[in-house]
Symmetry: C2
Subunit: 118 residues, 2 copies
């Protein structure tokens, strides 16, 4: 990309930019660690939900609950200046994983009880 | 799913389960709000990265940096008892969005400067 550098002093400017970049990256790394630990905590709770649902014959998905969650998260995203469409896409990505876990839990528990999975 | 209820007293048990479910859901909602605000903060930083990269002709992607991030997040996931494969999939999902932003920023800044986007 050196052909894009407009000035002779660009090398020094680029070093400053790289130094700024490294500083920002340490913040991103800290945030990512926090996100991973929060996601782990979220999955601990959804695993409890999965076990409750499976042992009481409740369906793994709950479209009404998900609709409410999406509306709330979109609204929180707007207040945080985050693209609400991304927030929804991100939520759907996480929920797809959770539902997969719930279905596996239900199937496993049904097999253990000699029942067919729904 | 009522045909899966094994005992006559299952209705009462199911009410208890629903009450437990509602309690867990408030925790999930709190965690989701924290996740959204952290993601918003992460995007603020990656926007700064995107602008730095674009204005200094640095490429929007950095495969070496991403490799290091994935290895670190997988290791953090293991210590948090989160599936490391999910952590990696989740990270790739977020990074795909970030790279899209960076490419748009680079393209916009190149157009403004009369340069071709890379």
């Amino acid at each position: 990309m050196t052909e894009n550098l407009p000035e002779p002093e660009a090398r020094g400017e680029r070093d400053v930019a790289m130094s700024q970049l490294l500083g920002i990256r340490t913040s991103i790394d800290n945030i990512d660690a926090a996100l991973i630990f929060l996601l782990a905590e979220r999955f601990k709770f959804t695993q409890q939900v999965g076990q409750l649902k499976a042992s009481h014959g409740l369906p793994p998905t709950d479209p009404e609950r998900e609709k409410t969650q999406i509306a709330r998260l979109r609204s929180l995203a707007v207040s945080a200046n985050l693209d609400p469409a991304f927030a929804e896409k991100w939520f759907n990505f996480v929920v797809a994983e959770v539902i997969q876990h719930h279905t596996q839990t239900a199937s496993k528990m049904s097999t253990e009880q000699g029942l067919q999975p729904n």
